[in-house]
């Protein structure tokens, strides 16, 4: 029998609602897959304990039977990126400094999912504090790309994407500050949405760059992503940047029709640095949309290369402030025998944070310091305004912008961390979307010669998720979900 984990989240949800599959069976399938595949993939920092998962499954089953839980996600197993607080379940941000942190509350997005009947099977690995593009900066070890274990899954939501691709769970939540949902989705052959800033509450999301962070869905297809986004999005008074949207009915975008849709293709996204195989694959996907009636046009977006330096100034500045709270007093790691209070702070932070996190905290402290604030921080904020204007101009002409999610497919393990700027350049197509607060989606559109997945990115204007979902859905109707090669070959063994 094929595993229940090979179904999409909504297919499994339908079978559960119809009584064809019990919530416990779904949970058991996920637990079994995790047990079998974790030694090879390592998607999780913490796998939920069996008893807790099964108890929760039975609770959800009862609510379904009573008729009080009708969500298409009820009883479907989910992985949560380990930067979202889960009451009673360890939440580490993949950092030593939070190695033993047990949150006393749950992030709002996760609360919303639980109200829809989600069964959490574990906390997914990530780059430490979401700072990285490969999941290699995790204190708890690397996650491997299920398509090829010698390659990274991308990052920072690498564990979430790998868990979905390896079919250890039905879907996952990730977070995206500069591409951290879209880039690993591309590398792992799954679909991921970064919503418009303010759509999903950040309450309980451990902050990295607060003006850029957004939680979003990662799943096998666009249908799942739309359903999940509908479940997690809400206006939340506890997050002062949360927005009361007029419309949360994202699933209405699941329409197979792109006739007359105007799609802009930025020339600046297809120039130097883009892998030719990625380019060919993304343009072929664009062609499919054109054949279905969309109007494609090339244009110059401009300013693309300035997004990365602006991002690293802004994100690092916010990180240096956000991570000031980790001081060894109220929670987390504390250095031993550190002497006085200030020595304890310093020693705790120096031992508790990894190299990439320290690098960004220092850069952030520097650009905010007196004498440099105007030249670096304000300059970056002015650049951000220019980037937003460039997108505004583009969306006067186009419904959507189409390009690659990343310039290459997944790099090999160990190849990226040595040269930070080169690694940062890998975010070139995703980062400006966060600066401008826009929604974006990554959709699998083929494999390269090494058999690694390629992702097409669609970018919408603020609050235009439905257009994104419509175009991505129409595209996905032309191709079936490609399961990761290791699963097809049975390379995970022990099953």
């Amino acid at each position: 029998m094929e595993s229940l984990m090979s179904l999409t989240a909504t297919e499994l949800g339908k079978r559960i609602q119809a009584g064809e599959v019990s919530v416990r069976e779904a949970a058991e399938a996920s637990l079994a897959a995790i047990e079998a595949r974790e030694p090879k993939v390592h998607s999780f920092v913490t796998a939920a304990d069996r008893e807790t998962v099964l108890k929760r499954a039975d609770q959800v089953q009862r609510q379904i039977r009573e008729g009080s839980l009708k969500s298409p996600l009820a009883g479907v197993p989910v992985a949560i990126k380990d930067n979202m607080c889960t009451e009673g379940m360890r939440t580490t941000c993949s950092s030593r400094i939070l190695e033993n942190f047990i949150p006393p509350y749950t992030a709002q997005a996760v609360v919303n999912l639980e109200q829809a009947g989600a069964v959490i099977v574990g906390k997914a690995n990530m780059d430490e504090f979401a700072m990285g593009s490969t999941t290699e900066t995790s204190y708890f070890g690397v996650t491997r790309n299920p398509w090829n274990p010698e390659h990274v899954p991308g990052g920072s939501s690498g564990g979430s994407c790998a868990a979905v691709a390896a079919e250890e769970c039905s879907y996952a939540l990730g977070s995206d500050t500069g591409g951290s949902i879209r880039q690993p989705s591309s590398f792992c052959g799954v679909t991921g949405i970064k919503p418009t800033y303010g759509t999903v509450s950040r309450y309980g999301l451990i902050a990295y760059g607060s003006s850029l962070d957004q939680i979003g869905p990662i799943a096998k297809d666009v249908t799942d992503c739309a359903v999940i986004l509908e479940a997690i999005a809400s206006h939340d008074k506890k997050d002062s940047t949360s927005i009361a949207r007029e419309d949360y009915r994202f699933t209405e975008g699941l329409v197979d029709d792109v006739k007359g849709m105007r799609i802009g293709i930025p020339r600046d996204y297809f120039g130097e640095g883009l892998d030719p195989e990625v380019k060919a694959s993304v343009l072929a996907a664009a062609k499919v949309l054109e054949e279905k009636g969309a109007c494609l046009e090339e244009f110059d977006l401009s300013l693309v290369e300035y997004a990365i330096p602006a991002y690293y100034v802004i994100a690092s500045a916010e990180a240096s402030s956000n991570l000031a709270r980790f001081d060894g007093v109220k929670y987390g790691y504390r250095a031993e025998d550190a002497g006085g209070l200030h020595q304890m702070y310093k020693k705790t932070r120096s031992e508790g944070f990894g190299a990439e996190v320290k690098r960004r905290i220092m850069l952030g402290s520097f650009v905010l310091s007196s004498g440099y604030y105007d030249a670096y921080y304000l300059k970056a904020l002015r650049t951000k305004a220019l980037i937003k204007q460039a997108f505004d101009r583009a969306f006067e002409k186009y419904d959507l912008i189409l390009g690659p999610a990343a310039p290459t497919t997944a790099p090999r393990l160990g190849e990226s961390l040595g040269d930070p700027i080169k690694m940062y350049l890998g975010d070139i197509y995703t980062i400006s979307v966060n600066l401008a607060g826009l929604p974006g989606i990554s959709v699998p559109c083929g494999l390269d010669g090494k058999g690694l997945p390629i992702g097409m990115q669609l970018i919408g204007d603020c609050f235009q998720e439905k257009k994104l979902i419509r175009a991505a859905y129409a595209y996905q109707q032309t191709r079936s979900y490609e399961r990761c090669a290791s699963l097809k070959k049975g390379a995970f063994g022990n099953e």
Partner: protein, 98 residues
């Protein structure tokens, strides 16, 4: 592009701001890393932003106020359970002055 040089004094100062204590080896690495990043960031100098206001937030949001009433329950024990050291219901820290 002007090459940035990060001096020992600057890295020392940044260490104080960031509350980080770096080994000599880490300091050298940090100096090189930061100089490299700043060289790269200096690219922003190519843009004329003299007529542009800094944009901290993409939407025109103002401060969000609410009544100052307690809504959450007593989480005292769950909060203190995470403390590295505690005593009599308080967070315990090393001696702050002699």
């Amino acid at each position: 592009m002007a090459k940035n040089v990060i001096t020992d004094e600057v890295i020392e100062y940044v260490g104080i701001l960031a509350k980080l204590e770096l080994s000599d080896e880490e300091k050298e690495r940090a100096k090189a890393d930061m100089a490299g990043m700043l060289d790269y960031i200096d690219m922003l100098g190519e843009l004329d932003t003299s007529q542009v206001e800094p944009m901290s937030h993409v939407f025109p949001v103002s401060n969000v106020f609410r009544e100052d009433v307690v809504e959450n329950g007593d989480n005292r024990e769950a909060m203190l359970a995470n403390a590295p050291e505690r005593e009599e219901g308080c967070y315990k820290v090393p001696r702050t002055f002699e």
